[in-house]
């Protein structure tokens, strides 16, 4: 069976390689992907349109902001789906443990984590807030933030982390993130533009239309960050304990 399953893999691989022969050269400026009006538009106009130096962020959060919204929703769904599967389940996968052994938190690890967690959190905020000028943004910031909570859960135990970030709040925060994202889009729609047309926010913000996009992007990134943070932690909490929120790693 394993051998047979190798065949489609090989077929796909051969196909991909076969097509790779036809690729435009790496970095060739006349290749369609770089020569198309789209790329050149992004390269030359990102600063003009949005005042954001980091083109990637502009494309992600503004030009293709709709995609990003649904990517956030995907993250949200992942959390919800895990909750749906694990919550209250007698556990299709569970080993039916009769006993739980607790591990006392290790002194060295807890001390390291104590020192690290605030730094990690401030780093996550930095990543989130500087998505405009350097790589990063809501998703990365959110992941780092979520990792800080996971770190707490790993070094003490899950209960300690859950005291700081209860699971109910987790989903509230996750939902708030999406509401923030969608709400900014909705607000710009009510102000007369299309959905997610941040420029219309200039009507209520004391800035130019371009800067409105800039600031709205920040808001959007915060929304993404909230959702990702909450879901990452919720994922860990649910997965490691089969949804019981007791014991676990």
């Amino acid at each position: 069976m394993k051998k047979i399953s190798l065949i489609p893999v090989l077929v796909v691989g051969v196909l991909l390689l076969y097509a790779a022969d036809d690729f435009p050269e790496w970095g060739n400026p006349t290749a369609p992907a770089s020569a198309s009006s789209l790329s050149s538009h992004f390269i030359s106009n990102t600063g003009v349109d949005t005042e954001v130096p980091n083109m990637v962020t502009a494309v992600l959060a503004d030009y293709r902001g709709f995609d990003t919204m649904f990517e956030t929703v995907v993250v949200f769904i992942a959390g919800m789906a895990v909750l749906a599967i694990l919550k209250g389940s007698s556990g299709p996968f569970s080993k039916n443990k009769k006993y739980t052994s607790s591990i006392e938190p290790d002194l060295i690890v807890t001390n390291t984590v104590r020192l690290l967690v605030p730094v990690i959190q401030i780093f996550s905020f930095y990543v989130l807030a500087h998505g405009h000028v350097s790589p990063g943004g809501g998703f990365q910031g959110g992941v780092v933030m979520g990792a800080s909570f996971i770190m707490i859960a790993l070094s003490w135990d899950l209960e300690t982390a859950l005291v700081r970030f209860p699971l109910d709040k987790c989903f509230l925060v996750a939902a708030l993130g999406i509401i923030l994202y969608g709400g900014i889009g909705l607000l710009s729609m009510f102000l007369g533009g299309e959905f997610l047309d941040y420029a219309e926010l200039a009507n209520i913000l004391p800035v130019s239309r371009e800067m409105a996009r800039y600031h709205a992007m920040l808001g959007v990134e915060i929304g993404v960050g909230l959702t990702v943070t909450a879901i990452m932690f919720a994922l860990y909490a649910n997965l490691s304990t089969e949804g019981k929120l007791k014991g676990g790693l």
């Binding site: 796909v12 196909l15 991909l16 076969y18 097509a19 022969d21 036809d22 690729f23 435009p24 290749a31 369609p32 992907a33 770089s34 020569a35 198309s36 009006s37 789209l38 790329s39 538009h41 992004f42 503004d62 030009y63 293709r64 902001g65 709709f66 995609d67 649904f70 990517e71 929703v73 995907v74 949200f76 769904i77 992942a78 919800m80 789906a81 895990v82 909750l83 749906a84 599967i85 919550k87 209250g88 007698s90 299709p92 996968f93 109910d168 989903f171 509230l172 996750a174 939902a175 509401i179 969608g182 909705l186 729609m189 533009g193 299309e194 959905f195 997610l196 047309d197 941040y198 219309e200």
Partner: protein, 519 residues
């Protein structure tokens, strides 16, 4: 408000789902009205958009998110919602099915997934969001994202079912991920070669640069199509479907069964016609020659497997696989009528599958089983349910006043015109299989036959049923009304089919599909 109707289609369920997620604690009962209301809102948006599309000159409404208007920016800056007639039709189907299932969901959700109502409705609404978005989007990558939205919610929804659902979901996850990845790879290849992700843009680049010969595009085509075929549970890739739909909660299966595969067929049609173009898809590849044969294999296998089932839901699941074969075949016989048939079958199959699954849900609720043996004499117990159920069944068979007949009609006509006799024969074969299946069911339900087939009672209508088994005992109204609604939709779509077909014809007018052959 009006000009943004197309955006509201997604905004309503999206915000509804988030609201449901926030209502997690305590106020679970509010989730049901929230879900229904947001579905109503979305449906309003859909109808409004349909009006706009029909009223517009080129029968398309192009809505670009983020205000990147077409006049001052090149196409592909910003994500476009490209609603032409086809997409808005399928969207309306999605929303309609969503609304009916949402109406239906009140009791089953409370009973089957106690304590998880809010999660359920969150995922439910997001599923509808994803599916409606798939139909509307005009951007190849956005399509992928929305496919993922739909797929992930699907995993969650299915896994909430019985104990075996988790294992079934696992299969689904694996195959679904493979399919989506292949699609994504294909989109990546397209982007390498064309430099745009906008569907119209891709088509224009392909036309302008004559990219049909390029190996990259060919491979991209293969990847995209195979990915979609996997996602739609086309025959060799169908393994996940029956288990998943059988073990899923009632509401889930009634939502997913009518929509998921059909929407993927819509995606295939969209890719073939609008993105790659007719010439690229049908003329320049070998696919047109051998796909109908694959379809033949698919339909025959699925039909035979359906014949072997002894459980309504499982049987219906295999029927869906067979129906997928119909539609794929209708597309690949490369013919005007076949295409009409496929598109119309997407619509009608959604309606009738909805009808059947809603009926199966009610049966499950009353009879506590969907196994054939448990169905004896159900007709006298719940005549309305059974009538609704069998209207769906007749539609699947293809009996005239129902919409199933008309789609099948066009499929047959397409097969005839393109002289794909193998497709025709297999269509007939599976039709006969469906006749057998449903009249077997009618015998069970109506005439109270047990599986072993021995005589029950003493003839003359004495079925050996107790008084209790035959007493009139319909399902609750909140479930019955949606079923009847669905059944009447089956009939109404059938009766008004020429309006739908005329719309489809408007959509197909711009594509140069072969129409007829001189005999």
């Amino acid at each position: 408000m009006m000009e943004n109707a197309i955006a509201w289609i997604l905004i309503f369920p999206l915000f509804g789902s988030v609201a449901c997620a926030i209502l997690r604690m305590g106020k679970r009962k509010i989730c049901y009205p929230v879900a229904v209301l947001s579905m109503v809102g979305a449906l309003w948006g859909g109808i409004e958009t349909l009006m706009q599309v029909v009223a517009s000159e080129e029968y398309t409404v192009s809505y670009i998110f983020g205000g990147w208007t077409l006049d001052s920016y090149p196409r592909g800056v910003g994500i476009e919602f490209h609603a032409d007639i086809l997409s808005i039709l399928i969207t309306l189907v999605v929303l309609g099915v969503g609304l009916i299932v949402a109406l239906y969901s009140k009791l089953p959700v409370m009973e089957e997934t106690p304590g998880k109502e809010s999660i359920f409705y969150t995922l439910f609404l997001l599923q509808v969001t994803g599916l409606a978005g798939i139909c509307l989007t005009g951007d190849a990558f956005n399509l992928y994202v929305l496919i993922e939205v739909a797929a992930l919610t699907g995993y969650g929804l299915i896994a909430m079912g019985s104990k075996r659902a988790a294992a079934a979901t696992f299969n689904y996850v694996i195959l679904g991920t493979i399919g989506a990845s292949l699609y994504l790879l294909g989109v990546g290849y397209i982007y390498i070669k064309t430099g745009t992700l906008n569907m119209v843009g891709i088509h224009d680049v392909i036309e302008a640069n004559n990219l049909a010969d390029s190996a990259t595009m060919q491979v991209a085509f293969i990847l995209v199509v195979v990915g979609i075929l996997i996602k739609m549970a086309f025959f060799p890739f169908h393994a996940w479907l029956p288990n998943a739909y059988c073990n899923a909660p009632t509401v889930t299966s009634s939502l997913l069964a009518p929509l998921v595969t059909k929407v993927m067929i819509y995606v295939m049609i969209r890719m073939l016609l609008s993105v790659f173009g007719v010439d690229f898809s049908f003329e320049l590849t070998l696919w047109t020659d051998f796909m109908p044969w694959l379809v033949v294999v698919a339909i025959v296998c699925a039909a035979v497997m359906a014949l072997a089932q002894r459980e309504i839901k499982r049987m219906l699941a295999y029927l869906i696989v067979a129906e997928v074969g119909y539609m794929v075949g209708g597309v690949w016989i490369y013919n005007y009528y076949g295409m009409i048939g496929s598109i119309f079958h997407v619509i009608s199959d959604a309606c009738m599958t909805l009808c059947l699954f809603l009926g199966a849900g009610l049966i499950l609720r009353k009879a506590k089983t969907t196994h054939f043996d448990g169905l004896r004499g159900l007709f006298s117990k719940m005549p309305l349910t059974m009538t609704g159920f069998f209207i769906g069944g007749f539609s699947i068979i293809g009996l005239p006043p129902t919409c199933g007949f008309f789609s099948k009609w066009y499929l047959i006509t397409g097969g005839m015109v393109s002289q794909r006799w193998e497709y025709l024969v297999v269509l007939m074969f599976s039709t006969m299989v469906m006749v057998v299946l449903f009249f077997r069911l009618i015998e069970r339900i109506h005439l109270a036959v047990s599986e072993s087939g021995e005589n029950l009672g003493h003839g003359h209508g004495d079925l050996g049923l107790t008084e209790e088994q035959t007493r009139f005992d319909e399902g609750p109204l909140s479930m019955l009304i949606p079923l009847i609604l669905a059944a009447s939709v089956v009939l109404i779509v059938g009766i008004y089919n020429q309006d739908v077909v005329n719309l489809i014809k408007i959509f197909l007018a711009e594509f140069n599909l072969p129409k007829g052959v001189d005999y």
